[in-house]
């Protein structure tokens, strides 16, 4: 009887007992807030700094003008058009290839075969290769060497395709995996071939996820600078690309060039061009996220 009485538990016992634990709790929470603060604070500082420094040049002239040796009339039109050409081509080449590879790996490949496992491992590896290495590959085999396309738009697109391809494959695979198997089973049960199942059931269901993934990968291509440094995108180009074999420049490298210009008047241009680049990227990411949110519910 007395045991039971002694073992009566009061409500206060359920809260954190010692002041020591309370202190650690508070400190930990502080640490979390500081981490959050550093991450978000840096982002905000960066954006504010860019807008502040670039403010005077943030107008339509920036986008309409061509690069110039005279800072007062320099603009980024050729860089924007160059980026559109290069990234557009990259998307054109990398999306069919990447989605195709993903379809093969998810729908057709027998997962226990050794060659399929090598492909999987390989793609994972390629995703973590530094992008500048792809630039070296491009310099050796695409710009010079075997293909010898020179320092042109097609060279840049091929290199960026290699950079984003692993990501496209991985993202597409995730999207395909998210399609419930019941859909596939039902289709097969009704007599469709595997390909017909993929084509008529799985793919349409996975399209939003694939679209999101590919848009995000393509936006990464838009912001890449390192691989293209090696293949001539740093050139002073005052015209828009006219063909696959055109000289070109892209927005990140136009910014790089502005940073490298000695005259201090170019610094606001670098900031302003960065803002333009960020707006374009933000736009692309918003579209991707919008697609993801819009269609996420449908599969449930």
């Amino acid at each position: 009887m007395t045991d039971l009485a002694q073992r009566q538990v009061t409500a206060t016992d359920l809260r954190a007992s010692s002041p020591r634990r309370k202190l650690f709790d508070a400190l930990f929470k502080l640490f979390l807030w500081v981490s959050l603060g550093v991450a978000l604070g840096t982002l905000v500082t960066l954006l504010v700094d860019l807008i502040a420094e670039g403010w005077e040049r943030l107008n339509s002239a920036l986008v309409v003008n061509m690069p110039s040796a005279r800072p007062e009339r320099a603009g980024i039109q050729s860089a924007i058009m160059g980026s559109l050409w290069v990234v557009g081509l990259t998307a054109l080449i990398s999306i069919p290839t990447g989605v195709g590879a993903a379809i093969y790996l998810e729908e057709f490949a027998k997962k226990d075969r050794w060659y399929n496992r090598i492909i999987e491992l390989n793609i994972q590896n390629l995703a973590s290769v530094p992008s500048v290495v792809y630039g070296i590959l491009g310099l050796a085999f695409i710009a010079r060497g075997f293909l010898s396309f020179g320092f042109t738009v097609i060279t840049a697109a091929l290199i960026l395709t290699l950079v984003v391809l692993p990501t496209v494959v991985i993202a597409s695979r995730e999207a395909l995996r998210a399609v419930p198997n019941s859909l596939r089973d039902g289709s097969l049960a009704l007599g469709a071939t595997e390909w017909e199942t993929v084509y008529k059931q799985v793919l349409p269901a996975a399209v939003p996820g694939i679209a999101t993934g590919t848009i995000l990968s393509t936006s990464r291509a838009l912001g890449e600078s390192a691989p293209l440094l090696l293949v001539g995108a740093l050139t002073f180009v005052t015209f828009n690309p006219e063909g696959l074999d055109s000289s070109y420049t892209v927005l990140p490298l136009a910014i790089f060039r502005f940073i490298s210009e000695a005259r201090i008047e170019f610094r606001p241009l670098a900031a302003a061009a960065s803002v333009v680049l960020l707006i374009i990227l933000l736009g692309m990411n918003s579209i991707a996220i919008f697609l993801r949110n819009r269609f996420e519910k449908k599969l449930r």
Binding site: E53, T97, A101, I136, L234, L281
Partner: protein, 316 residues
């Protein structure tokens, strides 16, 4: 009782005919095309290795391995040239180490907050900002590092020696900011994958939120967290543009991160812009260093996969 009539059934051929055969051909065709696409990815790796290996071998026929790994003077584009690779390895190590020192606590802190502490709505607001941070192009971060981080922070507060306009420290800090979203979102994924049951068990035993987060969830998600950190580390190792813009182009081999330095990746960028004559030793150096970089990130990737496999806790 059913009388079994002795009907011998003719064997039914399972071979496809007519329309079905056509459909199967179509399937085989697409399977082939997509399979080709998948095999192409292997081809890419082969190409990378070839494009690096062949010139690198030519490089090593001109420069001995002994000098490459034995000397500490890195001046491949000068006369007389120096091909000791350690200064740029040191530069890479410094920038990566500083980046991880920044990104690991910050990224994990954000991850724990998002996964264990934050309201659904707070998460919904913060995650997009993280994604924005993740999407900032490296050239923009380089601008930030060169014109804000270095002059306002490093040059002002770093106590050792005089900090020049370019410093490895500023570059490392900015690379750290670059990889925070990688650490944060991958770690958060790992933590949210831990089943609620484990958490609730922890709470039931009287743990506070901190204790459950640090003693239950974190260890349970450790394989994913380590994989996130290794991935972030290999991104930091390979980062070119930020280091090129912010750390300068003078390879140093010392103990002061406030000095200028050159990493392996930023050397490749530097030499690439300068456009060395094809075939010269300076040109071949790009490939030798590229090969080294590729091997390092490859090994790191294998390690990361091994760690995930070894320590992954499979639930249900």
């Amino acid at each position: 009782m059913v009388t079994k009539t002795n009907t011998t059934l003719a064997p039914v051929s399972l071979k496809a005919t007519g329309a079905t055969r056509r459909r199967l051909y179509v399937q085989a065709l697409f399977k082939g095309i997509f399979g080709l696409a998948a095999f192409l990815t292997v081809g890419v790796t082969v190409l990378i290795v070839l494009s690096l290996l062949v010139p690198a071998l030519r490089f090593f026929s001109q420069v001995s391995l002994g000098e490459f790994f034995g000397s500490t003077r890195w001046a491949p584009l000068f006369e007389p040239p120096g091909f000791g690779v350690w200064p740029i390895i040191a530069g890479t190590a410094w920038t990566t180490a500083i980046a991880l020192v920044v990104a690991i606590p910050c990224g994990l802190g954000v991850a724990v907050y998002l996964s264990e502490y934050a309201h659904r709505r707070v998460r919904a607001i913060i995650k997009p900002f993280l994604e924005i941070l993740a999407g900032i192009p490296t050239v923009v971060l380089g601008f930030f590092g060169l014109y804000l981080v270095n002059p306002e922070i490093v040059q002002r507060f770093w106590p050792i020696g005089t900090v020049s306009t370019f410093s490895g420290l500023a570059a490392g800090l900015v690379v750290g900011i670059m990889i925070v979203p990688t650490v944060a979102s991958l770690s958060e994924d790992a933590m949210t994958a831990v089943p609620r049951g484990l958490r609730e068990g922890g709470f039931a035993l009287g743990g506070t939120r901190r204790e459950v987060a640090t003693k239950v969830v974190f260890p349970a998600a450790i394989s994913g967290i380590v994989a996130a950190i290794v991935l972030a580390g290999s991104r930091a190792i390979g980062e070119t543009t930020i280091v090129l813009l912010v750390a300068g182009s003078r390879p140093t081999f010392g103990w002061n991160p406030g000095e200028q330095m050159q990493s392996m990746a930023s050397f490749i960028g530097f030499a690439g812009i300068g456009d060395q004559p094809t075939g010269s030793t300076g040109y071949l150096t790009i490939f030798a260093v590229g090969l080294l970089l590729f091997v390092i990130t490859f090994v790191l990737n294998i390690i990361s996969i091994r760690i995930v496999r070894r320590f992954r806790e499979v639930y249900e």
